[in-house]
Amino acid sequence: MKTLQAFIVFLLCALAQSALARLVPPCRTVRVDFVLIALVGYALHADEERGFLLGVLAGLATDLIGGGRLGVGALGYGAVGFILGGLQPSLFRGTVVARALLVIVSAAICSGVIYYVLRLYGPTHNYLVELGRTLLVTAAATAVVGTLVLIALEQRRHA
């Protein structure tokens, strides 16, 4: 049940990204990855295996709402879920900088895996510009929004 709930949250996040990119054109460049933020929020309270499964679901949600080959996002987000699930959450709940860093590293891992999978399975286009944009702009924007969301979620959990 909790897994289904998480999948619906991921779908809604992907939907929000899609709608924002349509309504606010600058969001096509400065993209906030809400799916990744939700995944970080969930995976920090899971183990490696559940983290991986949550990551796969997050990636599938993105793949289903977006274009391209199904499964590419599932591997990228799955890797993030696996790594986050294996981390000691207490290490990353301490400071704002640690949380921001966590989101940036997650975005980097995710885009790195997606880039590699697209190079393997995608068309001849080599996606370097997309990788650069994701690493620099999306990671930074996601870190700013994600840190605030993670702090708010943590406070709500404690309350």
């Binding site: 779908l11 992907a14 309504l23 295996e49 709402i65 274009g67 995608g122 068309p123 286009h125």
Partner: protein, 273 residues
Amino acid sequence: MTSVLFRRRRLILVLLVFVAIFVLLSVKSPISRWARKPVMTVVTPLLRGVEAVGRWAGRVGEAIAGCGATRERDRLERQVSELQAELAALEAELESARATAAQLDELREFNLTLLPARIVGRDPTSWYNTAVLNVGSGRGVRRGMQVVRGRWYVGRVEEVGPGWSRVMLALDPRSVIPATVAGQDIRGLVETTRKRTLLFKYLADEPEVRPGDRIVTARATTTGNVAEMYFVEGFEVGTLTALAGEESGWQTAVLERPAMLDRLSEVLVVISE
């Protein structure tokens, strides 16, 4: 044995999922389309709603900012601002209808059956450049159909469901457009580069092209599981700016395309000739 498997069931599940994804990626099958159809059919009305609310909110915001009603408490002024917001929303609708009418006017000579459509969503990732339209198979849209804005080529329908369709835009990394130089018999393919610009590729040696030449879509019909397209000739893809040199014995040219084509909301789907 059974107890070991039971204890390790989550690890086994992870491995199975991992293998399943690799199989999914390795096999060329229409499974992506089958999986997306039910999800997109459920999700598109939501996208439409969000898009309509977003447009309305934008207009209301403009109207309120314009009349300065936020600072006033007076009932009449509030009413005026509400009416202005309503007017702004109606003007947005009118603007959209005018844009469609202008496009249809422009394309009268082409003698095509065109279906007006609205872009309600864009790709949630940076990796692809796709858009979701609010019309689908219920209105006669099929995979491979061309999507245009006035005389400009916008993209091609990649997936279609009952009330939605996904368009692969011209600047998508996977996009390949059969094209020709307007008024000449020089054919090639337009592809997207790393820097999201368009290249007119596979031109014969020493092509007689000049900067400023208009590159338009060429007639092409292909069917199949992977790439399906029904291209009508004559829609502009870009303007030639320079020859980029030779690549594997073929000449390549760089194209320029108006930036407004990336900020569209109203488009037309070419249903038939």
